[in-house]
Amino acid sequence: MRHRSLLILTTAVTAGALTLSACGSRDDDSEDGGGGDGTTVVIGLDAPLTGDLSALGIGIQNSAELAVKTANENEEVKGVTFELEPLDDVAQAQQGQQNATKLVGNEDVMGVVGPLNSDVGQSMQKVFADADLAQVSPANTNPALTQGEEWQSGNKTRPFDTYFRVSTTDAIQGPYAAQYLFNEEKLKKVFVIDDKKTYGAGLAGTFADEFEKLGGKVVGTDHVNPDDKDFAAIATKVKNSGADFVYYGGEYPAGAPLAAQVKKAGAKIPTVGGDALFSAEYVALAKENAEGDMASSVGAPLTELDTAKEFIKNYEAAGYEDAFEAYGGYSYDSAWAIIQAVKTVVEDNDGELPGDADEARKAITEAMNDVSFEGVTGSVGFDEFGDTTNKQLSLYQVKDGEHVPLTSGEFEG
């Protein structure tokens, strides 16, 4: 009998290890290199810098760093030196919340860029709101973050005054793709799959609603675990459902193998998804099976915007090893929005920040509401919910191993 109780114990320990291994953290101590005589303003950054989503996270970090560097070189705000403090959230909501608490505790932090994931963003909102610290996300797209849980019924209320974002929401990203696929590609039958996370389920939901409203048919639905790699059984279901394409609400670590396995199962149909599939990693993982797959993303293609050309040039000149990826331009604009808010406050306060940190944070958060400039991704500004005023969206398709712009426009409901 002894070894049987050992088995039970082992199972319990495994479950414990599962939980523990999910919250390991690695902090990079940022160097205190700035300073001089002027004030130092720290801009916090939270993104997945390691793990499966690190390709997107590193792009966010590098781009925000580039914004900080540029502001320092140009002396964008006289007497103020900016510094970036990047923290790794490993794409975990719990870690994001801890990072938020850490950033709030540092009195020099006057604004935060990030995070990547909507569920992480959700966990951070209240921590920042309690400290009056402004947060600008380059990538969160779940509508509830700015418009409250009841946004779908039309009852929109802004839950947190300190939360801003420069990306558009899934409330228009999903429907935008639905309209294009139904009207332009003439695809009528879809198999909808999501990963049950805040971002994925929300996106798949808004997509399916619009697609059915247009007259399309949802021939099947399924859910997957975001850590899973084996989708053979689902791929067989997709193949036998006769769907014209798959819509996947989720991120590329599961999305890429899913798309590949659907094609391998013999269904020669594209997989379509949101901005979290718009990554070079997606193509690297799905390889030749990624051909023809589509992803929507917020804003216009960076290669087509004049404002973005300088950013791309500077990013290349800075010699970063990793690409700026889907959210680089947004991350740059997020950091720049904070820098602009700091500038406003400094100019209104006789050339320096209010001495009291709480007061300074509050003033900067208020100034954020009126920030307006031509950024990398187009015009940057925030509406009464903290959402971007820029409603541009684009669709990309994988051709010869690369995402190429397919169409771009403003969403009309």
Binding site: R2, H3, R4, L6, L7, L9, T10, V13, T14, A17, L18, S21, T50, G51, D52, L53, S54, A55, I193, D195, K196, T221, D222, H223, V224, N225, D227, D228, K229, D230, F231, A232, A233, I234, T236, K237, K239, N240, P253, P257, A260, K264, A265, G266, E281, A284, L285, A286, K287, E288
Partner: protein, 309 residues
């Protein structure tokens, strides 16, 4: 139900993969009664060993040519880590209470994972693994990928070879004796230390072979892949009767099939729409495990390799 043959094939292939990894759990448990929780990481390291070999090859090498070398490299890496773990993490604790080596195993598992994470270039994200291209192979009722042919051949060949080894060779019989009663086996002149190392090595080699199957099937390896795979293989080993070599394979196949069936059909049962699909397959797999343990606590084929093999 027209996709039943295909779903059975999906489940069978997944099950064969689980079964190959589960053999490592079962052999080690059968001989030293240790649940080697680092076994999933030994599997993962095999995958990275094979990937390293592939990256060393000149560009444009055919995968068919590279595969034997990749298998060799994977087996070498896994066996070195497996045997090293036995020598440095478990042997010093051989006389200690059973909980001690178990904790070491969990620690070792995390350490190995983090080592790959930290030192293997770009291993912080999934690394693409080479795949066989070309159309799927048609068997009439179902089709499989070219890469899965490897698994289809490797699993039975490994099983038959192991069965032959355990029942027909001197070392294999010594292994059975050690498993049955290590002290008496020692008195009979069997070098039990060597036998234990042997069990670790064979388990690791099978895990390495499974790791290549994983890479060919999913087109990627990553530093976390050992955790879930190890958990599933452990489940398969318990399901089949831990310590029983054939039980590990049967347990793996039962687990793989039940996952595929749960994904494919549970949602079609009236009233079960919310409990079906891909996100629930693990739940059903573990429900099955609990049922088996309740009704037949020794597992499907019964425990301990020695009495049965």
């Amino acid at each position: 139900m027209n996709d039943l043959p295909q779903q059975l094939a999906n489940g069978l292939l997944l099950g064969a993969l689980y079964g190959l990894i589960a053999i490592g759990y079962t052999m080690v448990y059968g001989i030293v009664q240790l649940i080697n929780f680092a076994h999933g990481e030994i599997f993962m390291i095999g995958g990275f060993g094979a990937l390293t070999m592939w990256l060393w090859m000149p560009n444009g090498t055919s995968l068919l040519v590279a595969l034997p070398l990749m298998i060799l490299m994977a087996v070498i890496c896994s066996v070195l880590v497996g045997v090293g773990a036995e020598r440095f993490a478990y042997r010093p604790l051989r006389g200690a209470p059973r909980l001690a080596p178990l904790i070491t195993a969990i620690g070792l598992s995390i350490a190995l994972q983090q080592a790959i994470w930290a030192w293997y270039p770009e291993a912080t994200k999934s690394r693409p693994f080479p795949e066989f291209s070309g159309p799927r192979i048609d068997f009439g009722a179902f089709t499989i990928e070219r890469g899965e042919l490897y698994l289809l051949i490797a699993a039975p060949v490994c099983m038959i070879a192991l069965g032959f080894f355990v029942s027909k060779t001197r070392t294999g019989r010594a292994m059975q004796a050690t498993s049955q009663d290590p002290d008496t086996a020692k008195l009979m002149g069997i070098n039990t230390d060597r036998i234990i190392v042997m069990a670790f090595a064979i388990g690791a080699a099978f895990a390495a072979i499974a790791a290549i199957a994983h890479g060919l099937r999913y087109g990627e390896v990553n530093f976390k892949m050992g955790f879930i795979a190890g958990l599933k293989a452990f489940t398969a080993a318990v399901l089949g009767g831990i310590g029983n070599i054939y039980g590990a394979m049967i347990g793996g196949v039962v687990l793989g099939l039940s996952e595929a069936m749960a994904t494919a059909y549970i949602a079609d049962i009236p009233g079960m729409e919310q409990l079906g699909g891909g996100a629930w397959k693990d739940v059903w797999a573990f429900v099955l495990l609990i049922l088996v343990l309740l009704l037949r606590p020794q597992g499907l084929l019964g425990e301990r390799v020695a009495d049965r093999a």
